[in-house]
């Protein structure tokens, strides 16, 4: 990817910071910073209200002998940013697909925001999914719609009026640096831009939980940093973010909580505290990521 391509969102990022951001976003971001600052180590969740995602002894078998996930137990707190790492077939995607209820666990219990996923009946699944933003490696955009319509679709699904969509979309477009690409079709965009559209769509309805399955898997390092910055910014705005990635280096550099999987088992669950990370703003994160990459 050419350097100029990346420069556009970069410039946008700075401008965004100068502009008064939407009030709600700002407040949430600050809250996240202070709460995390007062707690050096994220303790295991005691308060169930603070837990967004909870896996308890979850197993998923694909046919005889195919292990997708084996007795996975972990919890993700509100406003946390967690990375799932591990080689292909280690169960990252299985966790993601379990979380959007595309798959049913063979055993164990999954709770999202206190709700047991197995209790959500088939008809209610779409309503549940509206509270979970999803980003995929292959973007999964609607090829026949413009950037604007792609993002708007996520809101139309929930019955948002056209007027409301017109009012809320510019903020999301500015956040993701897509303001100039409104009327382009996905095939007219670069990979990084397409992924930004996917992130914008996932975040359009401001879901409390955002899942990203290998969001940088198809992108070069430069562009990947941009996407990571974007996810980080969304996380700081108050959204719990879970990212699956096999890019160990990138994940380490992010200095967030890491859950490592191997053949369906959780082999490592390290909190960000081990890295001694302090809260950075998005630009600082980007700078550091780039510095460390070279």
């Amino acid at each position: 990817m050419p350097a100029t391509d990346n420069a556009v969102p970069q410039g946008r990022d700075r401008r965004t910071r100068d502009l008064p951001p939407p009030g709600r976003e700002r407040r949430r971001g600050e809250h996240a910073a202070t709460s995390a600052g007062s707690r050096p180590l994220p303790p295991p969740p005691r308060d169930p209200r603070d837990t967004v995602v909870e896996f308890r002894g979850v197993s998923k078998l694909y046919g005889p002998g195919g292990v997708g996930l084996e007795r996975a137990t972990f919890a993700v707190r509100r406003q946390e940013m967690v990375f799932l790492v591990g080689p292909t077939g280690s169960g990252k995607s299985t966790i993601m697909r379990l979380l959007i209820k595309e798959l049913e666990p063979t055993d164990g219990r999954i709770r999202v925001a206190g709700r047991d996923l197995s209790e959500i009946e088939h008809k209610k699944v779409p309503y549940y999914r509206r509270n979970v933003g999803v980003v995929f490696q292959d973007f999964k955009l609607l090829p026949t719609r413009t950037v604007y319509d792609n993002i708007a679709y996520a809101l139309q699904v929930t019955g948002t009026s056209r007027k409301q969509i017109r009012a809320t979309l510019p903020d999301i477009l500015r956040l993701t640096g897509l303001s100039t690409k409104l009327h382009n079709y996905p095939h007219q965009l670069s990979g990084g831009e397409q992924q930004r559209v996917a992130v914008a769509r996932a975040f359009a309805a401001h879901p409390p939980l955002l899942l990203a399955d290998e969001p940088t898997g198809n992108l070069d390092p430069e562009t990947s940093i941009g996407i990571m910055q974007l996810l980080y910014r969304i996380n700081r705005a108050g959204t719990t973010v879970i990212v699956a990635s096999h890019d160990n280096e990138m994940v380490d550099r992010m200095r967030r909580r890491v859950i490592e999987l191997k053949r369906g088992r959780i082999v490592r669950d390290e909190a960000s505290g081990l890295y001694g990370a302090r809260e950075e703003n998005t630009d600082e994160l980007g700078e550091r990521l780039k510095r460390e990459a070279t």
């Binding site: 779409p126 999914r129 999964k140 609607l142 026949t144 699904v157 019955g159």
Partner: protein, 297 residues
Amino acid sequence: MKPGFFLKESFRSIKRNALPSFAALASVLVTTLVLGVFIPVVEATNGAANDVRGRVLVDVDMTTSATPAEVARVRGELQRAPHVKGIQYVSKQQGYEQEKKRNPQAFALIGYNPLPDIFRITPDKPENSAAVRKELDQASPLGTRLVTDPAIAAVQNRQAQTNQILSATRVIKITMALLAALLVLASILLISNTIRLSLFSRRREVEVMKLVGATDWFIRWPFVLEGLFLGALGGAAAIGLLALAKVTLVDPLADTVKLISQPDMIAFPLLIAILMACAIAVSAAGSGISLRRFLKV
């Protein structure tokens, strides 16, 4: 539920998928056209076959010396007999005049009336003509016939002729039914296959919609509406062509050849209504149902 949104969505997808849309429209058009031609043909053929079958009769010949009282008695017996639909009485005199008209020289030679009084019986079903005959005229073990009433001389059902008519019309009817079934099957397969193909190219789109949290019906409505439009359009075009063919080809012929305007031919407005309803229902239901596979995410 937002009808405006769904309407816009369906139009947009027709526009964006012009080629598959056209294929669906064309397949609806062709099948409707074929059905539109075939239904009247089946109707006419069946009508003709039924007409021929209506000619199956059983003749009850009275003895030449039968008195009016005996004729009345036999008429009563016939009316009570099973499987009898209609009784037509042809008196000696009437029969003589009819036959004389047909063959004047022969009757001039004979010089007198050799004909008996006759009851022409129409059985309720052509297949029952043998039963009617048996009822009135039982075969004895010796091969002679035992007539139930002494005033009846003989009962004839023109066995060979009846059998021919029955088997010929049966073959025609079965063939027509088979053809009609095949045609309906072919239309359904063709339309559902076209719909499947055009949906298959959009299964990713459906998948994405599901991931964003769209309910099944939110996804399905535009597809159903799209099918409805294409079906209506295809149906309307086919009916237009049919009407054109009727006005230019069939109507002028109908004046000269009476066969085409058989009494029980289907009425054109009814035919139009049936075709239109079928075209719309099949395409709309087809798109909605074919989508089911892709909705299971």
